[in-house]
């Protein structure tokens, strides 16, 4: 979390940590805003891809027809096993003001 430098008193740090949990990283920075940032790693790519098309089979078919090049054997994502282990998704939080 980024906190405005002028607003970052020790009380506020305690308050923010109390609210967000001890795992949050705080940064005091020249900013007029408070910014909370959540970083997520190892997204399940297949899920993302299917959710992008609302899991519509027809859209997947369409997608197979708009690949950038036809000299690569692209594979449809629904049939392919996920490349990323879903159980390893990481989430970290940073708050800045």
């Amino acid at each position: 979390m980024v906190l405005p430098a002028e607003a970052l008193s020790s009380d506020e740090v305690v308050r923010h940590r109390g609210r967000l949990g001890s795992e949050v990283s705080l940064l005091s920075w020249e900013s007029s805003e408070t910014i909370a940032c959540c970083e997520v790693g190892d997204l399940p790519l297949v899920n993302v891809a299917l959710q992008v098309i609302d899991a519509r089979r027809d859209f997947q078919e369409y997608a197979e027809r708009v690949h950038t090049r036809n000299d690569i054997p692209w594979q449809a994502l629904a049939c392919a096993p996920p490349t990323v282990e879903h159980s390893d998704t990481f989430t970290s939080t940073m708050v800045m003001e």
Binding site: A55, W74, V84
Partner: protein
């Protein structure tokens, strides 16, 4: 003749054939096994009716069309004759029909014909039907299991009674249809080239599973279902439903290109997806997606002329059918820990030079925002050599707009690169090279605008066609960023010590459009290759891949498809066997498997159906992240996140994302303004008239919506009723109380009083008359000498008013206390008090009315008694025993007593009404006082200040959110104000009616509480934490609950 009645055909002689036995019969006629010359066996069909009757005439007409058609999977016609005025058709003899095979399988306990075998049969059928349509423009229109005859291991299509030329729209089909299998357009008399495909789909479902898509029994039912209802495909495995649903589309144009395409699609269904689904699928509006541009098979050519052709179906209702949806793998919640908290300080922070490459229009917006942040942070410093920009787009006009002077955060021409498409013919010389990777259809369909118009392959074509120029520009930008002179210069401008021999490249691209989605992956590899050649020791290439959809449905769908295709390509390069094959035209060699273009890739969904302004707003979050990541110590946070993932042995460059929540912090000035407004609103709410803030510009919902007001009213009435019961101020209660008071004036019980009076009356030794008794009792309730006689107004010559005074005092005090007590209830206040006063006033009005009515009744009774007595004035008392005389006296006395009590009740109620009127006036005055007080809190600039404040960029967001919560905040503050201030001063009325000092104290306390509440809530809004349940995400984060408000957060944190 009715078709239901079989005709006698046993005596029919067909020349040259001997009818051996009847194979079958139906409404159409009969089929016989016949011996033909040479010992051959044939089938002879005898059509019912005379040859010139309608049915036979129709069949004959059809046969005329089919008799010249030859195909191995069409049952061959040997002869067509008119015998005894009957139509006779001789065909080859089949082993049986598909129906027979189906029945056989069912007898063997199977749901239907085994899929592989059935698909073999139907492939033959499709072949024949496509031949009929393609070569002869004919549709069979009576495809059903009985008409698919088995000959050896093949099917032959038979019975051409309904064969129709599609071009001929004159011939009616009514009467000859088989409703179970007929397509909706056939019922409507307009068969299409796809009608047989529909029947084939029905037939397939039935033959493979035993289930039919439409359950109707009668022809009428089936007709309606075919035309209007959605098919029930639950008997099919999930993998096949989509295919069959499409072949069963109501709109023939939405079906497969032909029957073979349908069969191919069935054959292509992944056998892993053929697990039968036992649970029924909901009936749905089943309209398969538009396929007019994307043909179902390679045989159906693509027509990618314009993106508008890809998606011209706005109807998503087809999606209700789960068979059209893919199964999304379930992700298990992560147990992986987040990174430990970091102390992010400037100390030791030494960023690397940066090259930010933006690809496409959305990226351009992000880069503009990023530059804006730089200028805000560093001032107008001119270009910073260590922070390089390169904005690439196929849209030259859009790029030139970004370089125009006067444009905010404009780019230099050397910071932009237009990669335009050319006309198709201009690629002719290079077409051989291009066609090694590009399908020729894309080349021939370059839009006239020479823009990609959302077509990804055209984005890549633009890149490859300009590869040399692109590589040069990237190389130049990289060189500028890491130049030995640029590092100290950059450090000097930014005040941040940059490190040398390192560079970070950020590639920002929307993967929803043609340009970003089409060229971003290649660009990543190109940058990687260039950096390797330049020998930079420390590099990091990050991709920020954005996805959003716009307002227009067809582009929205294309955007989704593009993003999906991009992810599939990205996934390909992640795979162990996937690798970037290089690019011949740019001279880029292949990369080894496992070598990724990007060290990190972020996939960020900006929102759906966004307006341009909303997209810009959403892009701000990405720019903010870019700024934090490149030029603030927050970089350490992102690095640590990525390092943690890497350490957990996740595949390199696995997909990441981020959520950003930005909120302005309230300044003291803004906080004070909001607190003033909140105080104003609270005080005004005490008057019960605070439905809107008075300035009229910034409407805030009323704190007590009607339902709440009703609830308050009910609460008030309940309380008042309880008080009435407690104080016994109903007619009966008051009459009982006043009766006691009146009786107490006599000092004893009535009987005792009367006994004494009667003794006095009879002490002279003579008997007393009734008249004397009445007069005696009357004297007890008479007015003193010279006072006008008001019946019941006096008791023992004492005015009733004074008799009841103690009761009036007691009850008035209790009622007033109750009324003023409403002021101390934050949810009632003045409105509650006034309401309760009015309620009591009405109550006493009713009491007065009732007591008057009762008085009239009693008056009549008393008059009757007196009249009786007076009618016999001389009747001696001696005629009555003393006991009887006493009873008469008591009875009369009680009537007089009750009358007096009711009179007292009326007087008492009158008194209360008068007092309540006074209380109400006081309350009105109190309300005026409150409004004056509220006005003191809002000076004349109050509204204007609030207006400016609420719309200001800096703090508008928090202010707006806080003001949206004013009703809730007001209630909270009011309750605390009551507990902390009002209670200790004996109530709001008392506190408000104090001197100026007390009033000032009241206002100060209220303001302090408002500030505290706003600060707390403002802080909550500013920092909205992901809940514990949100970590980790069980699914990829989706767009926030309010998908078009992404200035606050890009991704939903579940929970």
């Amino acid at each position: 003749m009715s078709p239901q009645v079989l005709e006698d055909t046993s005596n029919l002689q067909v020349p040259g054939y001997k009818l051996v036995r009847r194979l079958g019969a139906g409404g159409y006629g009969e089929v016989w096994l016949a011996e033909a010359p040479g010992g051959l066996t044939k089938a002879v069909k005898i059509v019912f009716g005379y040859h010139n009757e309608k049915r036979a005439e129709r069949e004959l007409h059809s046969l005329e069309k089919i008799k010249t058609v030859r195909h191995p999977f069409l049952l061959s016609l040997e002869r067509i004759e008119i015998v005894d005025n009957r139509l006779v058709i001789v065909t080859e003899l089949a082993d049986g029909s598909l129906k027979d095979r189906f029945v056989e399988c069912r007898h063997n306990g199977l749901p239907g014909i085994p899929r592989d075998q059935l698909l073999g049969f139907l492939s033959d059928t499709a072949d024949a039907l496509d031949f009929l349509t393609g070569r002869h423009g004919l549709q069979h229109l009576d495809i059903k299991p009985e008409n698919l005859l088995l000959v050896g291991n093949h099917v032959k299509v038979a019975d051409f009674g309904l064969v129709k030329e599609i071009a001929n729209r004159d011939l009616s089909l009514v009467g000859g249809l088989t409703p179970t299998y007929s397509a909706p357009e056939v019922f409507q008399g307009a068969p299409s080239v796809h009608s047989d495909q529909y029947s084939l789909a029905v037939l397939y479902q039935e033959m493979v599973s035993g289930g039919l898509p439409f359950p109707g029994i009668s022809a009428a039912e089936l007709t309606l279902q075919h035309v209007h209802d959605n098919p029930d495909l639950s008997s099919l495995p999930s993998g096949e439903r989509y295919v069959v649903a499409r072949a069963l589309a109501k709109d023939p144009e939405r079906r497969y290109a032909n029957c073979s395409a349908f069969l191919k699609a069935l054959l292509d269904v992944d056998t892993k997806c053929l697990t039968p689904i036992s649970s029924p699928v909901a009936q749905t509006k089943n309209t398969p997606p538009d396929e007019r541009s994307f043909g179902a098979t390679e045989a159906a050519p693509l027509r990618p002329v314009s993106p508008t052709l890809f998606f011209d179906n706005d109807d998503d209702s087809a999606l209700e059918n789960s068979s059209l949806l893919l199964e999304v793998p379930v992700c298990q919640p992560s147990q992986a820990p987040a990174i430990p908290p970091l102390d992010l300080t400037e100390e030791g922070f030494r960023p690397a030079p940066v090259l930010v490459i933006g690809v496409g229009g959305t990226a351009g917006v992000v880069l503009q925002q990023f530059r804006s942040r730089l200028e805000k942070r560093l001032g107008n410093t001119g270009r910073i050599p260590g922070i390089q920009f390169l904005l690439i787009d196929t849209d030259k006009r859009a790029l030139s707009k970004l370089t125009q002077e006067g444009e905010i955060q404009s780019f230099n021409p050397e910071e932009t690169l237009a990669l335009t498409l050319r006309k198709p013919q201009e690629y002719r010389d290079n077409s051989a090279h291009l066609f090694r990777w590009l399908s020729r259809r894309w080349l021939y369909n370059i839009p006239k605008s020479l823009l990609t118009e959302g077509l990804r392959p055209l984005g890549r074509l633009a890149l490859i066609d300009n590869s040399r120029r692109t590589l040069q520009r990237i190389r130049l930008a990289l060189s500028s960023a890491i130049d030995s002179e640029s590092i100290p210069r950059t450090s000097e401008i930014t005040g941040i010590p940059f490190r040398s021999n390192a560079v970070r490249v950020y590639l920002v691209a929307s993967v929803s459009g043609g340009t970003g989605s089409g060229m971003s992956l290649d660009l990543g590899y190109w940058v990687r290759a260039l950096l390797a050649r330049m020998g930079v020791s420390e590099t990091c290439i990050s991709g920020l891949f954005l996805h959003s959809t716009g307002r227009e449905q067809r582009y929205r769908d294309l955007a989704k498809v593009n993003a999906h295709a991009w992810l599939a390509e990205y996934n390909h390069f992640l795979r162990p066997d996937g690798f970037y094959p290089g690019d011949e035209s740019s001279g880029l060699p292949p990369f080894e498997p496992g070598q990724m273009a990007f060290d990190h890739a972020y996939f960020v969904e900006l929102g759906n159906a966004l307006e341009e302004s909303e997209l810009t707003e959403a892009a701000e979050s990405v720019a903010e992240m870019l700024y934090l990541e490149t030029l603030t110590p927050a970089q350490q946070f992102f690095d640590q996140c990525r390092e943690t993932t890497r350490a957990a042995n996740s595949p390199a460059a696995s997909l990441r994302t981020f959520g950003l929540h930005r909120s302005s912090t309230l300044s003291k000035q803004h906080l004070n303004l909001l607190a003033d407004e909140l105080s104003y609103r609270i005080i005004l709410s005490w008057t019960g008239k605070a439905n809107h803030v008075a300035d009229g510009k910034h409407s805030v919902p009323a704190s007590s919506p009607s339902s709440a007001a009703n609830s308050d009213t009910n609460h008030l009435i309940c309380g008042t009723m309880q008080l009435i019961s407690q104080l016994q101020i109903s007619v009966e209660g008051l009459a009982a109380s006043t009766r006691n008071l009146v009786e107490s004036q006599f000092g004893k019980q009535a009987e005792g009083v009367l006994r004494n009076l009667l003794q006095d009356l009879t002490s002279t030794g003579r008997g007393a008359s009734l008249r004397e008794v009445v007069e005696l009792v009357n004297r007890m309730f008479e007015a003193p000498e010279g006072t006008p006689n008001q019946p019941g107004e006096f008791v023992l010559q004492r005015p009733l008013n004074s008799v009841i005074r103690p009761l009036v005092m007691k009850l008035s005090t209790a009622i007033e206390k109750w009324v003023l007590g409403r002021l101390n209830q934050p949810d009632e206040r003045l409105e509650g008090a006034v309401r309760s006063v009015d309620w009591f006033a009405k109550h006493f009005e009713r009491v007065i009315l009732e007591s008057r009515n009762l008085q009239q009744c009693l008056q009549q009774q008393l008059s009757q008694v007196v009249a009786e007595i007076l009618s016999n004035p001389e009747a001696p008392t001696t005629e009555l025993s003393p006991k009887e005389l006493f009873a008469r006296a008591v009875s009369y006395y009680r009537l007089k007593l009750d009358f007096s009590a009711l009179r007292a009740t009326q007087l008492l109620s009158d008194k209360f009404q008068s007092e309540l009127k006074g209380t109400r006036e006081s309350l009105v005055e109190f309300g005026r006082h409150l409004r004056n007080l509220a006005a003191r809190n809002a000076d004349e600039n109050f509204s204007n200040s609030l207006g400016e404040f609420a719309t200001s960029h800096e703090s508008g967001g928090v202010a707006r959110m806080l003001r949206e919560q004013f009703a809730e905040l007001a209630r909270d503050v009011d309750e605390r104000f009551q507990a902390e201030f009002v209670n200790s001063r004996g109530g709001l009325f008392e506190a408000m009616m104090g001197n100026n000092r007390a009033i000032n104290e009241l206002l100060a306390t209220l303001k302090r509480l408002c500030v505290g509440s706003l600060e707390t809530q403002g802080s909550r809004l500013t920092i909205r934490a992901p809940t514990r349940q949100a970590q980790p995400l069980s699914l990829p984060p989706r767009v926030a609950a309010s998908p078009r408000r992404h200035n606050r957060i890009c991704w939903r944190w579940e929970g």
